[in-house]
């Protein structure tokens, strides 16, 4: 028990130090930016990459926080956040990761919906996009589209990409803790099956829900069947509607 307590204390100190270093990185990038020549594209790209990495580490730590202590983050009042901006921010954050696989993220339309968001809402878009990038084959496209529904006062944001096929039953199970589809395991060895579970949890905390659909087999890569996967998140607007 003492060992466990010491381990928790160690984790706490580690996260504290990581966040402090993250803050230092953010501040230094911010201070350095005005001194980088606008014409020096290489330097600016490097600076962007450092900033995105700091953002990414922060969001990763946020995910640990929200899992271990959701009450702390939920006792704050939700604030109005533009839905589209959250997804664009996640795309920026994961730009380097997408670039490594030559994956492009294409927005088919935009939405002026705002939702009542807790501070951790941004993680939802990040987790969904990270998952799509992880399972997309190289040199493919991920599309994002919004459907604003005036009747139900909600927006459904759908992310579509080619990924390892999932059965109809697996479509409901992929939001369970530590569950991975059989083809997903064959296609990508590493993975804990937690990302989509946390995404669904965050959607639920915002009175929304996430569903997945899989189209017919499209192609095979290393004998793994691939199909068009849609992951759609329905989220209610904040009071007073859109924009």
């Amino acid at each position: 028990m003492d060992k466990e307590k010491a381990g928790n204390e160690e984790l706490l100190n580690l996260m504290h130090d990581l966040r402090r270093l993250g803050g230092l990185l953010q501040t230094n990038v911010h201070e350095l930016r005005p001194f980088v020549d606008r014409t020096n594209a290489e330097a600016r790209t490097r600076l962007d990459a450092i900033e995105q990495t700091a953002h990414f580490i922060r969001k990763r730590l946020d995910i640990v926080d929200i899992q271990l202590n959701p009450a702390l983050w939920m006792q704050q009042d939700p604030v109005a956040r533009p839905l589209h901006a959250e997804f664009v921010s996640a795309t920026t954050c994961l730009r380097e990761r997408a670039r490594e696989k030559n994956i492009t993220v294409k927005y088919e339309n935009t939405s002026d919906a705002t939702i009542a968001a807790y501070p951790f809402f941004g993680m939802l878009a990040l987790l969904l996009l990270e998952n799509a990038i992880k399972y997309s084959p190289k040199t493919h496209e991920i599309t994002v589209s919004y459907d604003d529904d005036l009747l139900s006062k909600s927006t459904t944001v759908c992310m579509r990409n080619y990924g390892p096929m999932i059965s109809a039953q697996e479509c409901t199970q992929i939001f369970q803790d530590k569950f991975r589809g059989e083809n997903a395991k064959l296609a990508v060895a590493n993975g804990e099956g937690r990302g989509l579970k946390i995404a669904a949890f965050i959607a639920e905390l915002h009175s929304g829900d996430v569903t997945a659909k899989c189209g017919p087999e499209h192609s095979r890569i290393a004998n793994v069947p691939y199909a068009l996967i849609s992951v759609c998140t329905k989220l209610p607007w904040r009071e007073n509607g859109r924009g």
Binding site: L12, R19, R20, G23, Q76
Partner: protein
């Protein structure tokens, strides 16, 4: 008892919309309590925020003149002897100064033992938020503290929670509106003195009248260019 009633003054007539920018952000002082250097301080100063840092405080009244307080959790509040450190400090500040905007700046959001005390904070920010996020949140905080209506509503909520009779709260509110309109804190201070209140409520009102209200009025004068 016979009370002479007249048309009440409208609280929302004194509402002040504050559009923060580089030139008016300095109108309100922000206190940072952190035993380690507050790394965003220099860039936030460049954005016009009037930030002062202290490693710790000796007593709660040390924060009296700051409408916004940013407080770390670990390594501060040592004089108060609580194992909850900065979280306890925030709860104590909230007790004495309900109208302040309190920000927790934490590196460890996983521990649940601070949750109760951290309900006193308006917002919890992790230590690795970007400067852009800091600017956004501090501008929100400035808009709150620059608006006399927001400040008063926090006091009013506390009084109602303390079971102060609604009519007494109403009378205090009318005095507050008059004080803001005349830019004269004494109007409210006199009303606070003559209103019968419990000791706890008297302290909240007394501290607000003495420490915060003059600064609210000064802030209104100082911030007028940007409103």
């Amino acid at each position: 008892m016979i009370k002479l009633l007249r048309t009440p003054l409208d609280l929302y007539a004194i509402r002040r919309v504050f559009h923060a920018n580089d030139s008016n952000r300095g109108s309100f002082e922000i206190l940072v309590i952190d035993d380690e250097p507050f790394t965003p301080e220099a860039p936030l100063r460049k954005h016009g925020f009037n930030i002062q840092s202290q490693e710790d405080i000796e007593n709660i009244d040390a924060v009296a003149k700051f409408p916004i307080v940013i407080c770390d959790i670990v390594g501060v509040g040592k004089k108060f002897g609580s194992s909850n450190e900065g979280a306890h400090l925030l709860a104590e500040i909230r007790k004495r100064f309900p109208d302040k905007y309190l920000i927790t700046n934490t590196g460890a959001g996983t521990t649940t033992r601070h949750n109760k005390d951290l309900r006193s904070a308006d917002i919890v920010l992790s230590k690795d938020v970007s400067i852009d996020d800091w600017v956004l949140h501090l501008d929100t905080a400035l808009a709150q503290v620059a608006d006399p209506v927001s400040r008063w509503k926090r006091i009013r909520d506390r009084l109602l929670l303390a079971d102060v009779p609604v009519f007494s709260v109403f009378e205090l509110e009318q005095a507050f509106i008059r004080a803001i309109k005349k830019k004269d804190p004494s109007t409210f201070q006199k009303a606070a003195e003559r209103t019968v209140l419990s000791d706890a409520a008297k302290e909240v009102v007394g501290v607000f009248a003495e420490k915060a209200l003059p600064l609210v009025i000064t802030g209104l004068l100082g911030a007028s260019a940007g409103t």
